[in-house]
């Protein structure tokens, strides 16, 4: 637990501050309605009242989900509270027993009294359902909640993973939700006593003598009420403007021309596209969204950039993994002229920009997750060649885990060329890589055993031999910890969640408690 806190203290701090602010605002507004005098009579009928508060700030997916859960919880509380309110308003309207509540409810909606009513239920015939669907607050509330529920059910993990387009399009119901939220308070249905009326007949003086309000000689006049101005729009206007600004920016960026400079078809149906775009600059490990209007007008798909920033083009490697990618590969295979047009939006950053800050880096790429490391390794290589002084890295341990190398033979070629260049420069120990094939069978293993003393690996052609099965992380971490007892080691993973959990545990276990000795910091790519 202590180690986890050290690694994540910043996120924890932000979360604590955010939750604290939410709680504070909730309590403050609650107390305002509970205690302050303008709402004395409102409380008489209702008991108490509360409000939905949430701060729509998006930082990343986890925060987004947290905000969504908070919205759901607060919406539920809000709905339940107002359900009680409506019931109480309804019963007070129907009560004939001359109690304070019924007198307050009788305050007329008539223009003569300046519309100073308190109870939105104007006549005993109005049912709760009627008022809900004819008042602005009720109608926007119901529509907004239905939109919210549809958004939440279509965003469940199961639907997201397997029916992504359904999730994506239903999630745009957020426009309906925010519109309803902004309009929700416009009916001014929550009412408090006006200031003038408070001066004249303060509830502390007059509440007990409510039978006498209409008498000419009483000191108290019937209280006047006015509605609260709508406030929810104030909370959401700034983020909505920011969001609109971002969408416009994205649209403009995607309209810029993309020149395709080279198209390479790799074995196992992998397409490499090298492109240039004016004003495009990238960092390592970033990704771009790609749209191909001739295949689909609405779909944007993310791809990790596989080129280094030092190169004068940017490239992506596309593997056939669904109908859009298959159509794309087929379109480029058929040598149509002109080449299909591509629109690019990005680049968007991920955590791998930190990789140059560590003295020792442990890079783990599982399956398709090896793609950002192509960019990282190439970039490190360029920096190394130019003897870039900003490069703190002394040693890289690269673990590549995949079932079979077929779809990644392009990455294989990259490793071979890196290996050769390192030999030429005489720096063989800089990059240590291990390839783990998890999809091996006895045939492959037997073949490998026979060719044991060949200089290069028979499967990959690399100098380092291929390992079969999964890596034993405890051994790897303890070897690295002993080899670098005083360094800060950055561990970067792009791969499945289970592996992330494993590596995180190892990082915590092998980081020594002494901050001067070896420290492992875990960073995970999020896709």
């Amino acid at each position: 637990m202590g180690n986890w806190l050290v690694n994540h203290w910043f996120s924890v701090l932000i979360l604590v501050v955010w939750i604290g602010l939410n709680v504070f605002l909730f309590v403050q507004t609650f107390l305002k309605y509970e205690k302050s005098d303008e709402y004395y009579y409102t409380r008489e009928i209702l008991g108490f009242c509360n409000r939905t508060l949430r701060k729509p700030l998006d930082q990343n997916l986890t925060f987004h989900k947290l905000v969504a859960y908070a919205i759901c919880i607060f919406t539920a509380i809000h709905i339940i509270a107002h359900l009680f309110n409506f019931e109480r308003y309804h019963t007070s309207q129907q009560a004939k027993d001359g109690s304070l509540a019924s007198v307050l409810s009788g305050l007329s909606h008539h223009e003569k009294y300046g519309g100073s009513w308190l109870n939105p239920f104007q006549s005993p015939n109005m049912t709760v359902l009627y008022v809900t669907f004819t008042s602005i607050a009720g109608l926007t509330g119901v529509i907004g909640t239905v939109a919210l529920i549809l958004m939440v059910t279509s965003a469940m993990e199961f639907i997201r993973r397997h029916y992504f387009e359904l999730f994506w399009f239903t999630h745009h119901l957020f426009i309906v939700y925010f519109l309803c939220l902004a309009l929700h308070g416009f009916g001014r249905i929550v009412r408090g006593q006006t200031k003038d009326s408070m001066k004249e007949s303060h509830p502390h003086k007059c509440a007990q003598s409510f039978e006498k309000w209409d008498h000419h000689d009483s000191h108290c006049r019937p209280p006047q009420f006015e509605g609260n101005p709508p406030e929810s729009w104030k909370w959401i206007v700034a983020p909505v403007i920011l969001y609109i600004f971002e969408r416009i920016l994205r649209l403009l960026r995607s309209q810029q021309r993309v020149m395709i400079t080279k198209v390479v078809m790799h074995p196992s149906k992998v397409l490499e596209l090298q492109m240039t775009k004016q004003g495009f600059s990238m960092e390592v490990g970033q990704y771009i969204f790609v749209k191909c209007p001739s295949i689909s007008l609405l779909e944007w798909h993310p791809f990790t950039l596989t080129s280094a920033p030092e190169e004068d083009f940017f490239s992506i490697h596309v593997r056939a993994a669904g109908d859009w990618t298959e159509n794309l590969i087929r379109a480029f295979e058929q040598h149509h002229s002109p080449v299909p047009r591509i629109q690019v939006d990005g680049p968007f950053g991920t955590v791998s920009e930190d990789v140059f800050q560590y003295e020792v880096a442990v890079l783990v790429g599982a399956g398709i997750g090896v793609t950002p490391f192509a960019s990282i390794l190439k970039s490190i290589w360029y920096k190394f060649q130019r003897a870039d002084h900003n490069l703190k890295i002394q040693k890289i341990y690269f673990y590549w885990i995949c079932r079979e190398t077929g779809a990644f033979s392009w990455f294989n070629d990259l490793m071979i060329s890196l290996e050769q260049e390192m030999e030429e420069l005489g720096k063989v120990g800089f990059l240590n890589y291990r390839l783990f094939l998890t999809g091996w069978d006895s045939n492959i293993a037997g073949h490998a055993a026979l060719n044991f003393d060949k200089a290069t690996d028979i499967l990959t052609g690399l100098k380092q031999k291929t390992y079969f099965g999964r890596p034993k992380w405890e051994n790897e971490f303890s070897t690295i910890a002993t080899a670098h007892p005083k360094s800060v080691v950055g561990v970067f993973l792009c791969g499945p969640q289970t592996l992330a959990k494993n590596l995180r545990k190892c990082c915590h276990r092998y980081s020594s408690l002494d901050p001067r000795k070896v420290q492992f910091y875990f960073n995970k790519e999020n896709f």
Partner: protein, 105 residues
Amino acid sequence: WANEQALASGLILVAGGIVATVGRFAQWYFGAYSIAAGALVCLLEYPRGRRRKGSTMERCGQKYVAAAVKLFGPLTRNYYVRAVLHLLLSVPAGFLLATILGTVC
């Protein structure tokens, strides 16, 4: 998606029903009905159906609930019948504000 939505509406029916019953709203017996109807919908919808192609993750413990669903035979296994059943079940809950959200969902 219909499965997720139906499961969620079952839960909402139960929640609305609890609010109406506990608060002794007018016509609170609709609330009591809504709790029962919601519980039935949840029971029927909890097992996740298998996708036509690809793998499906089961919800935890769904084996036992699935046995209960199969008990009524074709009446509850057929999706069309279930759809009509859900529609009919949700109508009485529409009479009360606390539970109308469950009806709509």
